[in-house]
Symmetry: D3
Subunit: 193 residues, 6 copies
């Protein structure tokens, strides 16, 4: 178990390349910090879904949120453009193989691998909620950076136009509501004095 | 919900003061990254407990792990010595009040507050496992830093001598086993060439 | 003496949490760098007071300015909100106790402790001038950061509305004059091109 | 031309992931800084080759050294392990396509693309010398970091055992001589006092 | 050769003081990263000059670009104002002497020293093109930083008003064209939302 | 007064180049943080001198300590080697001129300039004590960094062999005592486990 945990420590220092490639300081956000943000966002979204009558398996949701970026210890935090050049199938295959090797010492019954596969294919509602949380945490981070003075992050906001969360009913409504409030908060940002 | 999530973004940048006070670089580990490490460690420990026949509520465990440090957005990451001067009761009260204010917009039924209270009092097995994961993630981070050349971190290792995890049976064994493997890995560190 | 000096080295790396909690980069300002700014600001203010006929004990003023944040090596740089949850009395007691332990090896006659107590109670004119310098250095740092592109720092400027420096006569005038020139410089900041 | 140059600015901030994944601070070495190191090392090696009677096209060599990592603005600095999971052919194809898109606005006659292709296939002596410089600059950086206290970098030194520079005659000798002096300097490092 | 290369590693970490003195984060741009930018800019400019019928010695140009800042390992990255106080002659003499000592182990025939002297006196067309690239890379970096939210960099743009590149004919046109496109891109920057 | 204070803010971010040139992380120590360390060290040394019967003008001492590095806002933190190439006279002249320009708006009667001149010539006991504190703070910082794992800092310790503090009697004894305790603490550092 220790070798897996030591390897995952690496995510605490690995920069999310989206920010540094746009000129923000090194250390703006680590992959581990992002995974934390995704997990928390997923939890709050799911609790609101539950309150709205949607059945969500919270344990499964949180497990997926926590492990969805583990492959980055071996593959790195590939910028969006990298996927264009490698193709998203190749990326999925590489990350799936990397994930399998990372969890190998602790995944006797293959349950982590199954959750990862679920996430990659967005099979379950839980997987789709985590993906939504992944996008929303990115936008909230972008908003927080813009509030602190950053700009030049417009590309990140394009995803908000056609999010493609592939959700329905109350779950979709909960997610879109948060998205709308993020967009509203952004529209209220004032130009620098 | 957005105001809570924006506030929690702050944990992504907040340094764990333990490292910077000992001369390591700013940005060594954020509170958010640590929370991720604790959550992952708790999940792996709990899965092993389950395999050993101990009943663990994984949903509850992961919720506690994710939220146990939220109060730091308002109280900061207080160094260990700060608790000595404030007293641990005052610290708990302050953090509990800060936590309540942070989750107020999303905690209609008080369930987050209850989980936090459980953690602070170490009432449930899940709370105690998260506390163990909190200590173990600290030690694994210290080990990773020492492998990268850091030293002067002996204080952190003192906790390993009398961990006081307050666990029993198979759960205790699972936790102590990980602790032992961390200590063994540390003992195998070679002096710098 | 060495143990005290080694402990104070820690302030050189400890981040002022006010900036990092608002999304600015780690390393924006250390507590030691702030103490330097406060000391220099206090010296310039006091020299202007002297020129205006106010008697200021410069030695006492500079000693207070240099030592007023030493307790942070043990208590950390608590964010403003932390004081709300702990109460300002508890904070003062904790910091006073921490300060006493830090200077213990070098303060045979209690003179450092007396200066710290003077500062905490704002007893002397010198203590009040240092407190004014503490606020003004914060505002000048905020101004410098805003000039470099930061925003989202409005909370810090609220203090400027009701500063409560508790000074009078020429001393008050000197301090308010600097405050006004800071506010004027801020009002002249242009929106980003 | 400006769009290409603006895109290449990104390499100035992009961390070499090899260091951060091993726990060294963000900002340890940027891709741009490494490219500078490779170019300089290649120049010094080539000048020594020339002095030893080997004909080297310096212009070609320096061009290759400067452009060999440009694809990383779009693909990122992939850790060594990433290549294992993607396969080195996929990686070469992706990087070649990214490179072509980056230089498209400035490469009317395809000469940059040809140089990149030469490098990727190690066709010319110049390409092989740049590859050798790429490895040697990595080792010199590792040595400099170890001199500054880093450790845990043993993986990087493994490459030194079977470098496979694919050079011959005087060129090989020049390169191996530098390699030997690096290894000798490393062997002389003392344990920390 | 190794001692020279180890010394030049220092440029990878040395901050360009122009940015940090204006409040941007440490690590914004290293001297090595800037040298990379200058070399690349010089190469693209020279290739366009060649296409326009100007004869440029690319090998010489790239050598000068790569070595023009080596003296900074010993003299540091002196801010512009430093030159005012030392006088530009004293600065040139100091840097020339430092450069000579740095390259001493690898410059048996004095060719590096000659190139440096050429650059310092702007004797050749190649030296003047590198100087132009030095200014243009600075402006492109400033533009990239402003796009990411920085401001307060107006001083750097003043140089653009009277660049004094001391070029003529097609070479001058190529350089001014890039300068114009930089200025145009800057004028299109929008105020922060 | 504001323009001077804004300019001095720059020292809060300006790296001491001694550390970064030796491969330590950016942000290891700012010039402002060092000035704080020198001021505090000078104060403690002077108080001990007073206790030993030596008359020290504390106000003067603290003023000199606070202002002794102000010229660096314009001249930068020149590495030790830079002085070799410029000559120490040229450096003093440049820094003196820079200092005069910085304080010009606040130094109607020339008293800051006089203190700076005193420091540069080491005329008074206070100036010599500040110089001793300047060296001792450097060594204590080096010691703290070595305790945290840094190495390769031997050059800095050479100064300890022939400090040349130019003090006498009890003042010399106080200073040498601190130096000895620093050297003793360093000799007790253990090799990394």
């Amino acid at each position: 178990m220790l070798s897996t945990l030591i390897e995952l420590q690496r995510l605490k220092r690995l920069d999310r390349t989206g920010w540094t490639l746009r000129g923000l300081a090194n250390g703006t956000e680590s992959v581990a910090a992002h995974s934390f943000g995704v997990s928390v966002t997923a939890m709050l979204l799911a609790d609101r879904c539950t309150a709205a009558g949607v059945t969500v398996d919270l344990e499964k949701l949180l497990r997926i949120a926590l492990l969805h970026d583990w492959a980055e210890t071996r593959v790195g935090d590939m910028p969006r453009t990298a996927t264009l050049y490698f193709g998203s199938d190749a990326r999925k295959q590489a990350e799936t193989a990397a994930f399998a090797d990372i969890v190998n010492p602790v995944d006797a019954n293959g349950s982590y691998a199954n959750l990862y596969d679920d996430y990659e294919r967005r099979k379950s509602l839980e997987a789709r909620l985590v993906k939504a949380a992944d996008v929303l945490d990115l936008l909230i981070q972008a908003l927080a950076l813009e509030r602190a003075g950053a700009r030049g992050l417009d590309e990140f906001w394009e995803v908000a136009e056609k999010p493609g969360f592939n959700l329905e009913g109350a779950a979709e409504q909960v997610v879109l509501e948060l998205l709308q409030s993020i967009l509203k908060a952004r529209s209220e940002l004032q130009p620098n004095v």
